[in-house]
């Protein structure tokens, strides 16, 4: 079947034999965006988290057929080195990553959180950010999430927003 969607602002039409193929593998292996990670394949670790129409979704548990007509954002589309997303900027300022493997998933989940709750409390963070990090970067991540909220608030143009 042909499945069309937007990914990081670009329209894509994919020929997919099995519409139940997890979106994760379509993105990693067919579209070659490697920033979205495979950690467990069971929607348990959150390493594959990306945004679909702005909502955090674990792509290892999301059949590609459901992506038809939707807009997907991966870590590659969140921001770039010249123009980082506030979450990425905060991650840099707090020097969060260690091994780095789980980090895109956490950053995507955080980006979704800040859309819902622009100034999350520690409790909001504890409830919503439930991905798994083995290096134990949670301590810095929490600081970075608060910082990202601050950067995002400051970057909004008060006149045009």
């Amino acid at each position: 079947m042909t499945i069309s969607f937007q990914i990081n602002g670009q329209a894509k039409s994919m020929d997919i034999e099995d519409g139940n193929t997890p979106l994760l593998w379509v993105i990693r292996d067919m579209l070659n965006h490697k920033g979205t990670k495979f950690g467990c394949g069971k929607a348990a670790c959150g390493a594959c988290t990306l945004l679909i129409d702005g909502e955090a979704v674990r792509s290892c548990s999301y059949a590609v057929k459901f992506a038809a007509g939707k807009s997907i954002t991966t870590i590659e589309g969140l921001g770039n080195k010249e123009n980082p997303h506030p979450v990425q900027q905060a991650w840099i300022e707090e020097i969060v990553p260690q091994c780095g493997y789980c980090q895109p998933g956490f950053m995507m989940a955080t980006a979704a959180l800040l859309e819902k709750i622009p100034q999350p409390t520690d409790e909001d963070i504890d409830k919503n950010i439930i991905n798994v990090c083995r290096c134990g970067t949670y301590y810095r991540m929490r600081k970075a999430i608060h910082k990202a909220a601050q950067i995002k608030a400051e970057s909004i143009d008060p006149i045009n927003s």
Binding site: E55, A56, R58, N128, I130
Partner: protein, 203 residues
Amino acid sequence: MKKRLHFSLLFLGLVIFGFGLASSTGYNTYYVSETDSVENASSSEAFDKMMQVLTHERCVNCHPNDNVPKQGADSHPHYFGITRGDENMGYQATNCATCHQSENNDYSGVPGAPEWSLAPDKMKWEGLSRVEIAKSMMDAERNGGRTPEETLHHLTEHELVLWAWNPGLDANGNLREVPPVPKDEYIAAVKEWFENGAVIPSE
């Protein structure tokens, strides 16, 4: 005797409330019976069949009494600290739909069905007896203001309910257990029970 009197008063309160509701929704087909005098064998059998399903973990896991969805045959609390949230859908950014879609996912073992969510706060079934569950589900105050017709519809046609017979593979690739009554038999039993006046037996 004292206990019975108490029950009747409560029932009266429900009926009054029910009439208030009836005027706005226009229902008058079914009446919730709170009596053990009109039971017949067939209705009782239908009730048994229905309740074998409704007390099964496939149903009760999503009707928790502590706002924590349950998982699995052992009804353990949902992993990762998931709770009801404001709209029965989990938390703001990480919610049911972060992992659960409108179909089961056999790759991940994550179950899915349309409108995947917890039953609303008032529909707490976990830990209730069969009779208590039946009362709860027929009580407009605790069933989301459903008329008996709407409750019948929920029980027999709602895709999320019928998912119980198509629960998919778990994370280890094993089929989840289905309720102990086949779907068709269950639906027939529910309809029969409603047609016979939705009689809830005494405990």
